[in-house]
Each structure stands twice: as structure tokens, then as C-alpha cells.
């Protein structure tokens, strides 16, 4: 009977957590369960234990402690005025469920967030208690991600960082007016203040660790955030700029984007139509361009259309290349790493391989083909020993010529 009860709660509280885009369980300190009483390990990169039909990976037990909430944010299914069924786990139930799933190798750990009940501090205490019990009572050495409540007592937030691998505070919406409209009870100042506090705590923790080996590690996988895309008027350009300032100001490890999706019992204020998932995908790609390809935010912005939106039919790197054709063709046998990274279709791995092999051979087109996925896509932008695009990069219809086949990504395009 008790089992059934947990299952009903799990159905409700997992359903309520499905709008959270983060699933990462990587980038933390290496641990294993040797010499301990409990179980668990982390080996640098996280593991996706299953995939849901929405294409997203299931790595952590991602649930809410409760979906009751005293707030009334319009985009959120758990808001006070929503008619959704409510449920609440006890801290111990979450602990038991995490351990039981982990033992069967279903998950890498726990991602716990919560609606706000009673007070911010009370809610935060409950979240911390789950993590504390896992770590201290059960010697659990798997991954823990806690979503902290922005205005909770800093001491509680600090404890969260001591038990968790990663902490996150959601910025919710990319623009201040959007936040005002859709989450009138939250404030951008408060959210960013909390992120700044967390950044400080993480840095202090790292310093302490440098001085004393025995110092506990504080949120070794850093902090991340999420914003909802498509519920306010922010353009892709706005979002790209916003994300890059967040990375800079709060040393975030990741910014996640969650395409707003229609929620049951939606507030009257929200669009019913979901934005194309492709938009979210393009934003992630632009994120990669900045983090791994040396693009500056203003360069990504310059790849956007006049209305501030990145094209949906081609990726942002290709969009950039088509706009700045004077940069091409790039000579594979001579170009710098930075230049090679600009070539559409050449990933970081391929570029590294080219640089490594270049000392031994002069690259022909076939050699490039061996190191990349699709040489056809790259060809118009490169020069090799036996290949030079003639007028290709100037052809007005170039975009049409190399554009990928219409994507199947959206089964039911809205």
C-alpha cells in the first residue's frame, strides 16, 4: 500500500518537474564508493540512463519535493491559482526513492526542486535535509543537484552547496518586463543577488580547498540557470546577450533554455501555441559557438535576421558564414585554429585532428572527408591541396545549395 502511495506522488511530482531542462550530471569531483558504507560514484562525465520519447536524457531522478506553491507565476503549472493535483513527498521518501533507483542503476543521482510552501526558508530547509540525509545517513556518493530558493537564508543556501554537486537558481525569463508580467512576485534583483552570493560561496570554497586539502568541496559542479524561451518578447539576440552576461557575471557552468510549452490549466496570460522547439535548439547551438568556438556574443547576434531571431532552417554558424563570406575560403593546410573553427561543419574535434595530422600530410579533400561527418557541407568554405571553391562561396543560392534536408525534428510542427 505504501508503495502505491509513493507511486501516485511520484507521478504528480515527476510530471511537475518535466519543464526543467537541466539534466546534466557531469563536471563534478571524482568519487567512488570504495571504503564507504553507502554507494555511488561520479567519474567526470555523467551518464544518460535512458531517453524519453521527447528526446531528452534521463540521468537524474528529477522531481519536486512538492508542487504546492504560494506564488502565482503564470508560466508555471504549480502556481497557486492552478487546478493541478497537489502532492508532497517527505524528505525520507525522496531519500529512499533515490537510493532504490540508484541501486538498480536507473539513475546517476537526484535533481530536486520544489514549489514554495510556508516560507522560503522552510522549503529550503526541506531540500537541504534530503541532501544531508543522503550524504550523512546513507553515505551516498552519487550526484545531487539542488534548485535553491533565491530569498532563502544564506546559511541554508550555503549548506545546500556543501551537500550538492550543483546548485541552480533560475532566472526564469530573459527580460525584466517579462518577469514582471509573468512572475510578478519574483524580482530580477533578488534572483541575480542570489546568484552572485552563490558565485562568492563557490569561489571561497575553491580557495579553502586549495589551502586545506580536507576542506569540504562546495558545489564542485558549479551553478547553472534556466530561462524560459517564447513566453515573453525577448528575441534570440536579446537572449544571447543576456546569457553571455550571465556567464560572465556569475561564472555559470551552464545556461539552459526551455522552450515554453503549453501547460495544462494554463494561465490566461500565456500563449497557447508552443514556440518551435527548433528555436531552443538554435539557442543551444549559439551557446556552443560562444563557449567552444570563440564567437563573441555580438558575432552571434550579427548572424540573426533583422527581427533579432536566428534563422530556424540553418544553424547559427552557417548563418554567420553566409553573412561574412569575405572570411572564406579557409585554407585547411595553413589556417589557424581560430579560423578553422569558423568553418561550418567543422567541429572542435575535427579541427584538433586536422591540426594534429597537418604536420604529417598535406590535406586533400579526401583527407578532410575522413575526419569529418559531411565534406559536402564544408567544401564551399575550404581550400585543400586539390580543391578550391571557385565561385561557390559567392553563389547567391549557396544557402539553398547546402541547406540541410528539411529537418524531422518536429514530428508535429505547430
Amino acid at each position: 500500500m505504501a508503495q502505491l502511495d509513493t507511486r501516485e506522488k511520484l507521478a504528480i511530482l515527476a510530471d511537475a518537474a518535466k519543464y526543467d531542462a537541466s539534466c546534466a550530471s557531469s563536471g563534478t569531483s571524482k568519487r567512488n564508493s570504495a571504503g564507504g558504507k553507502g554507494l555511488g560514484s561520479t567519474e567526470g562525465s555523467g551518464i544518460c540512463h535512458a531517453y524519453a520519447p521527447d528526446g531528452r536524457c534521463i540521468s537524474l531522478l528529477k522531481i519536486l519535493l512538492t508542487n504546492s506553491c504560494v506564488f502565482n507565476c503564470h508560466y508555471c503549472i504549480n502556481r497557486k491559482s492552478s487546478n493541478v493535483r497537489r502532492a508532497r513527498f517527505t524528505a525520507q521518501e525522496v531519500v529512499q526513492l533515490t537510493l532504490a533507483f540508484y541501486k538498480r542503476n536507473y539513475i546517476e543521482g537526484l535533481f530536486l526542486s520544489s514549489g514554495i510552501i510556508k516560507s522560503s526558508n522552510y522549503t529550503m530547509e526541506q531540500l537541504v535535509e534530503v541532501a544531508r540525509s543522503l550524504r550523512e545517513d546513507h553515505d551516498f556518493r552519487g550526484y545531487i543537484h539542488l534548485k535553491t530558493i533565491p530569498d532563502a537564508d544564506p546559511e541554508l543556501v550555503r549548506m545546500a552547496g556543501l551537500y550538492a554537486d550543483r546548485v541552480s537558481i533560475n532566472v526564469e525569463l530573459p527580460t525584466v518586463p517579462g518577469l514582471k508580467r509573468l512572475a510578478p512576485e519574483k524580482s530580477a534583483g533578488q534572483i541575480e543577488g542570489a546568484m552572485l552570493g552563490m558565485k562568492g560561496a563557490i569561489e571561497d570554497g575553491r580557495d579553502a580547498k586549495k589551502k586545506y586539502k580536507s576542506a569540504p568541496s562546495f558545489a564542485p559542479a558549479g551553478q547553472s540557470t534556466q530561462m524560459i524561451v517564447g513566453a515573453d518578447a525577448a528575441t534570440d539576440s536579446d537572449i544571447v546577450v543576456k546569457a553571455s552576461t550571465l556567464y560572465d557575471r556569475f561564472s555559470l557552468r551552464r545556461v539552459y533554455y526551455s522552450a515554453f510549452s503549453p501547460i495544462p490549466d494554463a494561465s490566461a496570460v500565456l500563449p497557447l501555441q508552443r514556440p518551435p522547439l527548433m528555436r531552443e535548439h538554435r539557442l543551444y547551438q549559439s551557446d556552443w559557438l560562444m563557449r567552444f568556438y570563440g564567437f563573441k556574443p555580438e558575432e552571434v547576434v550579427s548572424a540573426a535576421e533583422p527581427d533579432g531571431m536566428l534563422p530556424l532552417d540553418i544553424d547559427p554558424k552557417l548563418a554567420w558564414a553566409l553573412k561574412f563570406r569575405e572570411y572564406f575560403p579557409v585554407d585547411v593546410n595553413r589556417a589557424s585554429r581560430e579560423q578553422l573553427l569558423r568553418v561550418p561543419g567543422l567541429g572542435t574535434k575535427a579541427v584538433d585532428r586536422i591540426l594534429r595530422s597537418r604536420r604529417f600530410r598535406t590535406f586533400s579533400l579526401d583527407d578532410v572527408a575522413r575526419l569529418t561527418v559531411s565534406v559536402a557541407k564544408i567544401r564551399p568554405f575550404i581550400v585543400t591541396s586539390d580543391w578550391r571553391p571557385t565561385l561557390l562561396t559567392d553563389r547567391a543560392d549557396l544557402k539553398r545549395w547546402i541547406k540541410p534536408e528539411k529537418s524531422q525534428l518536429e514530428l508535429f510542427a505547430a
Binding site: R7, L10, A14, K18, S33, A34, G35, G36, L39, S41, E43, I47, C48, H49, A50, Y51, A52, P53, D54, G55, R56, N72, H74, S81, A100, F101, K103, R104, N105, P177, G178, K180, R181, P184, D232, A259, S261, P262, P264, D265, S267, A268, V269, P271, L272, Q273, L277, E305, P306, D307, G308, M309, R356, D367, R370, L371, Q408, L409, E410, L411
Partner: protein, 507 residues
Amino acid sequence: MSDANGRFGNSADLFDSRLGLGGKAGVLLPDGPQIDPLKITLDQPDDFDGWREAARELVLAGVPPMSVVWQVAGDDGELFGSEGAVPPAAGGEPMFSVPKPFIDLAKAAICHSEPQRFALLYSLLWKLKANRRALEDRADPLVDRLEKLAKEVHRDAHKMHAFVRFREVEEGDGTRFVAFFEPDHHIVRREAGFFVRRFTTMRWSILTPELSIHWDPATESLTEGPGATRADAPDGDPLEETWRTYYANIFNPARLKVKAMLKEMPKKYWRNMPETALVAPLIAGARARELEMIEKAQAAPRTGGNIEGAWAALRQEAMSCTRCDLFRCGTQTVFGEGPLDARIFFVGEQPGDQEDLAGRPFVGPAGQLFDAALEKAGIERSTTYVTNAVKHFKFVLRGKKRIHSKPDTAEIEACRWWQEQERAIVRPPLTVALGATAARSLTGKTLTITKAREAPLTLADGSECWVTVHPSFLLRIPKEERRREERARFVEDLRRIRARSEELAAA
């Protein structure tokens, strides 16, 4: 660098042709004489140490790759070649060491199920002897091939870490967690450590067709047993139903991406995972669940009292809009206005000179004409919601005069967001597009007004949209007679719209 390659010929090719001979004893060496190749038998399919030992001796003895045949004990193996002692190292051969990346590569590639893996690795070793940096040439076909084998082994290992599913069984003296898994390559020994490190305090077994491994936390020992079938593993665990509950609910039906799922979780793994039985029904039900959500939301009674607040906040948000360059142009954003339960929703083109200054839509000459026409048609303007497709005044300066200039498609696209949000709040049963710009904003398509005004269109949310001309068009007709005609026609359109709106209200 082609001479480094050329020196031993293309090793991969040599192997291909050599091993492709199947059944024929002996091999033709480039320089003629028939010799019997040396047969090396390894203990296990993943016997790296055995391979390394043999390979070291062979290389030092100067035995070229084409003169060695590799096999695993117990395999049917090669029909040719003879077991024999490796000739002693040729006196002059110096010892040589291999770079560390080669060891890593070899340790991984040797676990691959590809029968030629030992030979390919020996070829590469031979090549390394001549050129210590041969491995760095990633574009070399032999290196490329082996890197790919290693990559497939890593992927298989990763999938094992991810997709092994333990089931708890009671044994006399405690519990054991047992899993059945079918790897593509010989990775079980290689990956045992991962499970030991993670589940040190649990007693567990992983059964695979090739071998089984068992961990005993009491003695901290890992033992090996024979291969197994799925029937040897327990067939269920009470927690699986709970896990399936989680799987079904963490999935968002509004974001179906089946291909992405299949790419990462190919079907061959499904039969040993308890949750995958749910995939088909979840996919089948997804669209229905999403539509149900939308329908419910549309049918929901308009209570909740946050509509006024939402509209005010939306207007506020629009005041600082910079989605297109027009925000630099006009004095202010001219937002829509009217009751939020309006049954008719008018969309015009853009504010003009007077609207820009007043901050309200349809107050200039065109607005006055519009008011007059509405009155004739029996529609009270104060019961309708009126807004523009583009919310900033776009103009060119001629002397002191600001002359209206048409918004382009990018501007219409950028501004469309506001109009959609206004409609999402008002949710009018009937929308009227005044002119081509409005029609474009509402439908995303370019329409010819004369054709479109004949019958209503259906918008994305399922509501009705009527198209007619923009009042400013009526102001610009020079010929008196035609102007009168067109105005009458406009009023006629509005009458029809009124009638239709009453019809919809009654339904």
C-alpha cells in the same frame, strides 16, 4: 610524409588481401617465395597482455604483419598458418617503446568484435617502429580505422554503464542485484571496474552471453563465470513499476522527438530495459494529450481576474520594445485598446502621425473614417478591441512633415508577437484584418485583399478571421465616385462582420 606510409606499403591493404584469402594455405609474399605464416593464439578475445607479449616478440624478431595470423583459443580460426616458435630477435634490432596513446588505443580496440583487430594493431605497431609519430597522423587510413574501432568500444562501454538494469533477488544470506546485458563487443572485463567502484557495498552479478561477473562485497572479490542467457536472470523487480511511473511522467508530450531518442537508445538495447515497453504507447498518446491540454485551456471559463493585470503588464512590456529598429523612429509604442472581453478584434497597419503623438490607435483621419463606418454598420467602437500590426510609426521626413511609410516584412514579423499576445489575452471569436499588413501579421502569408475579403479564414487558434481594406486606403482614392463606392463596400463588409459576430455569440 607519404614515404613513411610507403615503406611498408599500405598495411591495412596488405592485411585485407592477406586475410581475405581464407582457406588457402600459405601466402604469396611480394618477392615470391611461399611461406607458412606464423599462427598466434590468444587466451581471450580481449587478451591485451597476451597480444602485447606476442607482438613485442614478433616485432623484435622482425616478423612483418603479413606473416602473422592471430586467433583466439577456442575459435575455429584460420585454416592456414602453423603454430611455431617466434624466431629469436634479430641481433641488431634495438628495443623500442611505443607512445602511451598507442597503449590506450590498443587496449580499447582489442575489445572490439572485429576479427582483424589484432592484426590491424600489429600493423600499426610495425608502422610505429619505423615512425614513432605515426599515430599522430589521424588522417592515415590505418590509424583512422583503429580509432573508429576504439570509439565503438567506448560507446558500447558507455551504453553498458547506462543500460544495465539490476533486479533485486533474495538469497539465503542476503540480497543480490542481478542484471542481464548484451554488449556488442568484448567489454565486460574491461568495464567491471566501473560497477565495482559504484556499487562497492552491494552484492551483484552481471550476466552476459559471453561471460558472467560476480562481485562479493564481503571478500571484495570479483569472480568470473560462464556466459548466460536471459532466462538465467530474474525476470522482474517490484520497483520496476515505480520506475516506469517515473519514466512516463517525466516525459513532456508537447515535445515529441522520437528520432533523437532512437539515436541515443537504439532498439537493440530495449529488451533488457523495463521502461522501454512504455515508449510506443507514450508516443501514440502524446499528440492527443497536448491537444487535450490546449482544448481545455481554450474552453476554460474566463475567470481568474488576472487578465486586466496581464494586459497592463503586456502593454508596459511593449513600451520598451526594441524588437525592430522602428523603436528609434516613433515617439512611443502605440498599443491596442478596448475591452478585454471584446468579441470583435480589429488589426490595422501601424500608427500614423497623430496616433504616434497621442499614443492611441485610430485617432487620426483614418480613425475618424473608421469610426464613421463602424457607426453606419451598427458596431459600437467601444465594444471592440482595436490594435495595429506594427506598433511604431514608420515615416520619412519631407520638410517638416512626417510621411507614413509602409512597414516591411521583417518589421511585421518582429511586431507580430505583440498582436499575438493581445489576441491570446482577449481571445476574440472574430478577428478583422484591415489591409494587407494586418493580414500578413495574422496569417504569416501575403494575401490579395480583393480575393481574401470574400470569405473568412481560420486562424491557428481555430477562430475566424475576416479580411477587408484599411480605412486609409479609402482616404487616398482620388476619384469621388470610386471613393464613395469603396466606402459603401467597406461598410458592407463591416455589416457582414457584425452579423457574423452576433451569429457566433448566439451559437
